[in-house]
């Protein structure tokens, strides 16, 4: 049975792509210029919704990384670290404004390259990226107010490695605080989503930043490893999987490199029987199906108080039936394409595991496009705490539902995970909210809301979800010697 009333289907509302400018191929951005390395190694960046090739991207060599780090070092030793905070801030302000001016182009490219719905790129990723730049721009000449009784100093060259789920936003999260505090940057975007980072490099060039302040090298994991291990990199900032985070932490153990890690999660989203149920259902959907579930802080474990379980699941299934899955470029689309063939295979494997473990499987009925990578919003009920789908990060639109009776029980279950990035709590009672948010071993806790982000709001995890914060005053310390 489908819950969608076919008489009320929305007509397609596609965003046009004619206004964007993309090259056939991209070099690396080093010392203020795009350079095509002699080795000529490239790979294709495809549109995961169609399989079409968007552009060819450089597979950087270790020499390319060396050059990028050298350029960043020279820029740090030269103009950038000596420049007054106010002037540094003005560069960032300028970049924020130019990103706002070109926001439509960035949103379209982000959706083409990554598969996320244009509504999300347009309303979340790009505006938030600009907001981050604007926010940290203002800190550049105010750092002494952030750390009482200290004289904070920049660290040097920051190597920054970012994931494919929020490509431009993560670039902004990394670059903005690093530059505001007077460091220089070598950035590596994820191999499936390099385009908006390269477009951002064009913007940095256009904004007239001193050469070498930001360098962008593209490629696969070994390029990231070369940055991490480079002896002239002073600080490593990584957002990605816990597995890779551990490798990074280990590989720099013998150095004095500073490090911040923003890693995986398996967040508990907890609904009490006194919650506003329809509002909670919206929050659950936003928590797990936003960005196809490719969100480290996704509310992938739903805990429902037993007395409202059946009612809530029925409403949730109904809501899942109204989600529009498909063309990311359609402004009506709620759930876009899975980012890559590999990630789709991982998600499908977990769905099989969930079925084999005996959880009850449900998927929303919806038409999927023929080409590209897709996964229907998926629900597992009757999940046991020990099930892999309740323990491991899937990074897809797959929700694992468990029940609870008492507050003490749900606190124990929710915290029983090596992760600790985020949590959600839904209840109408204020004192219960503050008890629950205090009890959650997680860096970000949303009460009666979910998956909200803001440049002023520190983000980051407890336990194996990493260390360090991004955003807000607390995000500055990752890039300063205090």
């Amino acid at each position: 049975m489908t819950h969608k009333n076919s008489n009320w289907d929305l007509s397609p509302a596609p965003e046009s792509t004619g206004h964007i400018s993309l090259n056939d191929h991209y070099g690396v951005f080093i010392d203020g210029e795009f350079r095509t390395p002699d080795h000529g190694n490239r790979f294709q960046s495809i549109n995961p919704a169609t399989g079409e090739v968007l552009a060819e991207i450089t597979e950087s060599s270790s020499q390319d990384v060396d050059r990028a780090v050298a350029a960043a070092r020279a820029a740090y030793a030269g103009e950038w670290s000596k420049m007054g905070g106010r002037e540094r801030g003005k560069y960032l302000y300028r970049l924020a404004r130019m990103l706002q001016e070109k926001s439509r182009e960035f949103a379209v490219i982000e959706s083409l390259d990554g598969g996320k719905p244009i509504r999300e790129s347009r309303d979340v990723d790009v505006p938030l990226a600009a907001a981050h730049l604007f926010y940290y721009a203002g800190w550049a000449d105010k750092l002494s107010y952030a750390f009482p009784n200290r004289n904070p100093q920049p660290i040097g060259v920051a190597g920054q490695i970012i994931p494919w789920n929020f490509p431009l936003l993560m670039a902004a999260w990394k670059i903005a605080p690093a530059l505001a505090t007077g460091n220089t940057v070598v950035l590596k975007p994820a191999e499936t989503t390099s385009l908006t980072a390269l477009k951002l490099a064009e913007l940095i060039q256009e904004a007239g930043f001193p050469p070498g302040v930001v360098n962008v090298v593209t490629g696969h994991g070994d390029v990231g490893a070369a940055i991490v291990k480079h002896e002239d990199v002073d600080k490593v900032a990584f957002t990605g999987s816990t597995e890779v985070g551990k490798l990074i932490q280990k590989s720099i153990a013998g150095t004095n490199k500073r490090c911040t890690l923003e890693l995986g999660g398996k967040a508990a989203n907890i609904v009490f029987d006194d919650a506003a149920i329809d509002q909670a259902v919206e929050g659950i959907v936003n928590g797990i199906y936003f960005n196809q579930g490719h969100v480290c802080c996704a509310g992938s474990r739903l805990f429902v108080q037993e007395s409202i379980h059946d009612q809530l699941i029925e409403k949730l299934k109904h809501r899942m039936g109204t989600l529009i899955v498909g063309d990311p470029m359609d402004k009506n689309t709620d759930v876009g394409a899975i980012n890559s063939r590999e990630q789709l295979a991982t998600i499908e494997q977990y769905i099989e595991v969930g079925k084999q473990e005996g959880a009850e499987f449900y998927q929303a009925e919806c038409q999927l496009p023929d080409a590209g990578f897709w996964c229907r919003p998926t629900l597992f009920t009757d999940v046991a705490q020990s099930n892999r789908i309740a323990q491991e990060e899937i990074f897809g639109p797959v929700l694992a539902v468990q029940t609870f009776r008492t507050v003490a029980e749900v606190i124990k279950k929710a915290n029983n995970t090596p992760y600790g990035l985020s949590a959600g709590v839904w209840t109408d009672k204020g004192s219960k909210i503050f008890n629950m948010t205090a009890q959650m071993k997680a860096g970000v806790v949303w009460a009666n809301t979910y998956n909200l982000f803001d440049p002023t709001s520190p983000f980051g995890g407890f336990k194996e979800s990493g260390f360090g914060r991004e955003g807000g005053l607390h995000g500055l310390s990752a890039y300063l010697d205090i």
Partner: protein, 302 residues
Amino acid sequence: MTESNENSGKSDRLEVLKTYKMYIDGKFPRTESARYYQPVVNGTSLGNVCLASRKDVRNSVVAARSAQAAWARRTAYNRAQILYRIAEMLEGRSQQFLDELIRQGMEADSAETQITQSIDRLIYYAGWCDKYQQVFSSVNPVASSHFNFSTLEPVGVVFAVASRDCPLLGLISLIAPVIASGNTCVVLASENSPLSAITFAEVLATSDVPGGVVNILTGRVEELSEHFSRHLDVNAIACDGLGVDLNTTIKEFASETIKRVKIYHQEWSAEAAANPYLIQDFCEVKTTWHPIEQITESGASY
């Protein structure tokens, strides 16, 4: 008449030696391994000191974990008073610490300074217990209708390797900021100078510090480093004054569970060595989002 030796001078009386045991869960057990070592100062043995084992590490982490939630739930005011109480008890025992620090090879002058600085350091951090939160927390002006705030929470269980060369002040300079925020800890005392650490445990035991909040082991860091740095229930590690190789090993093992590792090479007698950033080193920032309804006298807006 009593026998003559009962009233005679000290020289005839057999001194009662103190057995230095470890401090775990508020009790003073010997090492479960029944092993010992003998630190030697200027050719003289300090006595038979417990040589802690892997099992002792594990037992003390269990004790620290069990005590952590309740310690963190204490009010900041209460933790402040307990830290102050430690200082009071230490002051009262100054003479004993003086004797021991001298036995451990320290000059009388420096020993005296070390004791007074240790007392003052406890009072310094006692004062921070109910103040650091106001210095490091924030209310964040998000661009939506939410009350958004970030506060510090204790990271959990901390394993600390205390200074070898600064046996009392170095120990206290790590313990005080760690427990001020509600963490519990296991501390490995200076291998060469462990006596004052165990006597400090006696101070803790009589200072209203709940059992398990501070646990003190004696032994060899080289032997124990793998066990505490790989332990799944240790959240953070503090190392003071270790060599590069040992720090590297500890950091490598710590990466298996993304532990926070803080490396110090502090001159603890310096005024600047005491500061609230050490408290922050063992805290997590938690950010909470809470919706705000938007209704004013002129009506609602969302």
